[in-house]
C-alpha cells in the first residue's frame, strides 16, 4: 500500500468562523467544501499549495469547540504579529515540555495552539 495522510478532520464549533480565523490571522488558504463520506462533510483548509496536509473542519455541534495545534518556527514572533493584528491571546506564551506555545481562543470557544517544538536533548550539545 502507498498511503499518505492528507485530510485530518477536526471537530470545531462553527467551521465557517474557524476558516475565517485561520485565513485572516494565520495565512491559511481555503480549498473547498467537501463531502468525504455520507456523514463527514466540512471545509478543507491548508497552509499553502505545496503542503499536502490539509485540515477538514467538521461541525461538531453545539458545545463542541475544538482545539487546533499549529506548528511555528518562531512562537514569539508570531505571537507578536498576532498582537499587532489586534488579537489578544488570553495568556502569554508558555514554556512546555514540547516547546514554546501560546493558546488563542476565538469567539466560538475554539482554541488554536501555536506551538514551536523544541528538541531539548539535541540542544544540549
Amino acid at each position: 500500500m502507498d498511503l499518505t495522510l492528507k485530510y485530518t478532520p477536526v471537530q470545531v464549533k462553527d467551521p465557517e468562523s474557524v476558516k475565517d480565523f485561520l485565513l485572516d490571522f494565520f495565512g491559511f488558504i481555503y480549498w473547498r467544501k467537501a463531502f468525504i463520506t455520507g456523514n463527514l462533510e466540512g471545509i478543507i483548509v491548508g497552509l499553502n499549495v505545496t503542503d499536502p496536509h490539509r485540515m477538514l473542519l467538521v461541525n461538531g455541534g453545539p458545545g463542541s469547540a475544538g482545539t487546533l495545534i499549529i506548528n511555528t518556527d518562531d512562537c514569539l514572533k508570531d505571537y507578536n504579529e498576532l498582537l499587532q493584528k489586534g488579537i489578544s491571546p488570553g495568556q502569554k506564551p508558555q514554556y512546555t515540555a514540547m516547546g514554546l506555545a501560546v493558546t488563542i481562543e476565538d469567539a466560538s470557544g475554539n482554541k488554536y495552539v501555536l506551538l514551536e517544538e523544541r528538541e531539548y536533548e539535541e540542544n544540549k550539545s
Binding site: D74, L76, K77, Y79, N80, L83, Q84, P93, Y95, L100, E116, R118, Y120, N123, K124, S125
Partner: protein
C-alpha cells in the same frame, strides 16, 4: 561585521562576527554575553574567562572588563544588555504580588536589583533557542522594538530560572549555617568552575584550581562536591567530553585531533570515557549526528 541595535528603552543587542578583534576596558549595563562558534576571552579584574557556545557570561551594571577574539574560525558573538529601569521593573514584577502591581503599576522598585553572580552559566534549552532567534532577527535586520523587547523579557525570565538552578539551589546544598559564608563559598566555587570551563583543554591540577579560587585543596574538594555533586576532576572530564561532543558534531577534526583539542592525553582513555558516558563511540556519535 558588527550590528548594534539600541531599543527605545535603551536595551541593547550587539551581534558581531570576527576572528581577530580586541576591545580594551569597557563597561555596560547588566548584560548576558555568549558565542555561537569558536570562543571569546574576557578579562574581569584579575580573572580570565573564555566563553564557548555551551555557556554565557553575566556581568552586572558597571563592571569593567576587556574582551578579545583571536581565532582560526570566525566567532559569532551576541550580547544583550538591559537598561537599569527595564531590569528594575522586571525584578519588581517578579517580586511583587499581582495586587501590588495593579494598585501601583508605575511605582519604582525601591530596593536594589540583586548583584548577580558574575560567572559562566550553561547556555542550553529555551534560553539558547530564544537567543538563536534573536541572533537571526538581528542578522535579518528586523526593525521591530516590540519583538526585540518581547525576546529581552523572555531572556531575562529564563535567566532568572537559570540563576535559581545555578546559584540559589546550589547555595542551599552547601553545608554552612551562615548565609554570608555560603555566598562567599559559592563565589569562590564559581571562580573554580569558571577556571575549569576556561582552561579545560590544558593540563590543570587541583592545586591550580584551589589557588584560583582561594580555597585550600581540601576545602575546595569538600565544598565543590556539595554544590556540584561531583569532584573538580569529574567536572573537568564532563566539560572535556561535552566539548568533544560539540566538536564531533560541528567540526571536521579527526577524533585524534579532538582528543588533543579538548585536553585528553590519549585517544584510548577518551574513547573509553566517551563510550561510558554516551553509550556509543565518538565515531558512532559523529555518524549519528
Amino acid at each position: 561585521m558588527r550590528t548594534v541595535k539600541i531599543l527605545q528603552n535603551q536595551n541593547r543587542i550587539f551581534s558581531e562576527i570576527s576572528s581577530d578583534v580586541s576591545y580594551p576596558k569597557q563597561g555596560s549595563d547588566f548584560s548576558m554575553r555568549m558565542v555561537f562558534s569558536g570562543n571569546e576571552n574576557y578579562t574581569i579584574g584579575t580573572r580570565n574567562l573564555k566563553i564557548y557556545p555551551d555557556s554565557f557570561l553575566v556581568l552586572n551594571e558597571g563592571t569593567s572588563f576587556s574582551r578579545r577574539i583571536y581565532s582560526d574560525v570566525p566567532v559569532h558573538t551576541l550580547s544583550v544588555s538591559f537598561a537599569p529601569q527595564f531590569l528594575k521593573d522586571f525584578h519588581r514584577s517578579q517580586r511583587s504580588s499581582d495586587r501590588t502591581l495593579l494598585d501601583d503599576p508605575f511605582a519604582t522598585w525601591q530596593n536594589d536589583v540583586p548583584n548577580f553572580l558574575e560567572t559562566l552559566y550553561p547556555l542550553s534549552g529555551d534560553l539558547k533557542f530564544n537567543m538563536l532567534h534573536l541572533k537571526k532577527h538581528i542578522e535579518n535586520n528586523v526593525d521591530n522594538d516590540m519583538l526585540y523587547n518581547e525576546y529581552m523579557h523572555h531572556s531575562l525570565a529564563l535567566y532568572y530560572r537559570v540563576y535559581n538552578q545555578e546559584v540559589v539551589q546550589k547555595s542551599k546544598k552547601l553545608d554552612f549555617l551562615n548565609s554570608q559564608t555560603k555566598i562567599e563559598i559559592l563565589k569562590r566555587l564559581a571562580i573554580a568552575k569558571d577556571y575549569i570551563l576556561s582552561n579545560y583543554n590544558r593540563p590543570i591540577s587541583l592545586a591550580d584550581i584551589s589557588q584560583q579560587a582561594c580555597l585550600s585543596v581540601n576545602h575546595l574538594l569538600r565544598t565543590f562536591k556539595q554544590a556540584f555533586s561531583c569532584s573538580p576532576h569529574q567536572y573537568l572530564i564532563k566539560v572535556r567530553l561535552q566539548r568533544a561532543q560539540y566538536l564531533l558534531k560541528n567540526s571536521t577534526n579527526s577524533v585524534n585531533e579532538i582528543v588533543d583539542l579538548v585536553g585528553f592525553e590519549c585517544p584510548s582513555s577518551f574513547i573509553r570515557l566517551f563510550k561510558g558516558t554516551y553509550n556509543m563511540t565518538p565515531g558512532n556519535y559523529r555518524v549519528a549526528n
